[in-house]
Amino acid sequence: MAKRFVTTKVEIEGREETKTVELPSRNPAPWQDDAELHVVGQRVPRADALEKVTGQARYTADVQLPGMLHAALRRAPVARGRVTSLDLAPALAMPGVRGAIVMDDAPDVKLDGVRLFDRTIHYANQPLAAVCADSLEIATRAAQAIVLTVEAEAAVADAEQALAPDAPRVRSSGNLHRASPRIIARGDVDAGFRDAEVTIEREYRTPVALHTALEPHGAVADWSAGRVTVWESTQGIFNTRADLADAFGLPLTSVRVIKNYMGGGFGAKNGASFAAYTAVALSRKLGRPVRCIFDREGEQTDAGNRPATIQHVRIGAKRDGTLTAISVDATIALGIGGWLGGPGRIYHELYRCANVRSAETFVFTNTGAMASFRAPGHVEGAFGLECAMDALARELGMDPLELRRRNYVDRDQDKNRPYSAKHLDECYRAGAERFGWDATRRRRRDETSRIRRGVGMASLTWGGGGGPPAYATVRINPDGTIEVLTGAQDLGTGARTVMAQIAAEALGAKVEDVRTVLGDTERLPFASNSWGSITTASVGPAVRVAAEEARDSLFEAAAGMLGANADDLESRDSEIHVKQSDRCLRFDEVCEKLGDVMIIGQGSRGPNPERTALSAFGAQFAEVEVDVETGQVRVLRIVAAHDSGRIINPTLAESQLEGGIIQGVGYALYEARVLDRASALPLNPTMHDYKVPTLADVPEIDAFFVGIADVVANHTGAKGLAEPPIIGVAPAIANAVADAIGADVTEIPLTPWRVLASVQRER
């Protein structure tokens, strides 16, 4: 008998992990690229749109429970130092205040290396105490009534300060993460540079970007009879459950985590949040439900960020453009903690080159910890690599797209394995054609006018092949309607819709008859965090298997009713037909005859193909106008061609492409957390001063998929698409600006003064 449990590799946010997987009950043949599908691939309306346009979608902060109390946090006024006294008495004396917690009342948990309510201050706005009251207004006033004295010490605001000889020690272990420098190399980079006929060398800088999800981090906790129910705005209900059970010493059966709707995550909500620990601790202490929601300043300073990088890049090439060596030395400012999401990896992936070396130095600073943010590492790395490729193209006098094509690679070179599928070449072709790349490049330049036009492009890659474990249950009700149950999350991505489409396809049902239920650890089988663009490719196959199992049971039940063999049945639009006959029964007719028999299918996600890289690809093109008198950049249009395998729902997928591109425009032109370098205090923790793109900042966007099913990756043929669209935007825009002004741009955001400085350097 074949082994039931095996191991397989799964890539999550650029990290490859080994997972144990239980082989599914069946392994359906892939839906081939030319398969005739009826629901998958259709522009089905978003399943939860009605709730959202009518205000009935209930998000975490909308949960109101009888007797619920409201928590507010008192945060550190300095970036480094210690609490010398913290007097809760004035707060507790206020009418309507029900209790408070400080470090000693909270579980002994560290988030990003900082204990909950730590009395040692590691960054500005670090929470020091929480107050709970009958209303948020009272709680907020009470938190400010706490009498707090702190002793401030010199703080470290950025990587350069952290690495200075006499820098204050951010952590007792020092200012370098112990993994620094992380060096990954293949071939012989020194030999590669000796072989080079042309070498370019540049330093690129990227800012701290803030997720700025409209819904902040927050939770409602209801502790009752030794068990706790938690509503949390999270990308991972099962991760959150595990975190809370561990912190509060509860069995997993005593923690229920629910997430029905959430107002954006973008990577920052991957486990139990500070708000969740606080709400649970207060609910346990006070015996009443507690809501704890970060305010906007807390969200902008203490809820994750994309870390700033400095990337020193060298690329060597032959005169014909053949790359001989790529090297990057990067410094990444993590903040007080985080994980090793660095820019180095994409340098190894994107082009054929035998000699590649990345060295990443991860630095601690007295600022809020970094967190995954839509394609962490790759967004920062793509800016350095893709701008450097354009600098090389200029040096060689070569079309930047031609340079990329000449260095095309069809293997994962670090691990020496093939891709399951790669259609970046088709993205180049289709993108260049829709953009009119050759024609716009040939256009005559006006070097004298105030407004200069330029074009640029960038390529991108990202994992997103997904993998196990993931489970789904499909139930057919007595009226023929169908429920898909899986513990995944829909962050606004469309998972509810996509899973219903996959189930409807496999069952031969109308998609309107299928409802997807997500986001409840107590009621649903496991699915992993919705991160790394993995949900469709991870959970989709499990849903398909469950739906096929349910379909087979339904056919067996219907066979007798139709006087046919189950093998001779087929279904479409929720009707079962006997092949080559006009005998037919609707699902509801079959189910009604079955009475209370409930047809249930179980499905799970099988292992990934062995020794195969699973990746998404894309090519993005930008045209800009630059006012050389003011430095103002206007992005006129973006064309983006993406390869993410089969597209289950083109409308929702295009929405994600547009959204990722618009976030990329913000990263390129506007967004940066600003600190006072002397104090490490935040200067722009508001939505007015931290500049996310508005409607008026959006260029014309033509974003599309080449849409070829990847039947090696998994049997649905789909791969991830949420993160790829942000990756190439900033370098494509920067390359277009460089093209317009005839000068390098090496730092984002491309604010007018920064662009103007580049223009003036050139003059």
Binding site: T54, Q64, G263, T493, Q656
Partner: protein
Amino acid sequence: MRLIVNGAEHDIAAPDHEPLLATLRDRLALTGTKLVCGRGECGACTVLLDGTSVYACLTLTAACANREVTTIEGLGRDDALHPLQAAFIEHDALQCGFCTPGQILAAVALLRENPSPTEGEVVRGMSGNLCRCGAYPKIVRAVIAAAGAAADAPASLDADRSAHG
């Protein structure tokens, strides 16, 4: 004080400094109106006050006595959506949905002032409502389409308004 929300009268005892947003969400359980920035920077709490768009976070409840407030809950019914709600679904003009109530109400106010806006007028009129998911291109399409639908059937917007206050 008397507050009229979505056509229904309420007797509210709110302190003078209470913002309309807190009254709607906490006293009346109308949670479709969202708190995002709390200081008039994002537009997520946009509601209509006597038909004009206001930020509920910056509007004092005390200033709304005897005036008509319309929130997303009062705009349409599940089986009779406002044309803008229908257009937002049709054009997939939303992702996470957190900014959507504010976007729709801002668009209602815009179309009331300017029933057939150009694309540029929609962009200017709606750019105070932030959307981090980046549904902007589809929001523009939805608003233009809803305006077109209203132009084709001139009675529909007004009829809907009188039906739902």
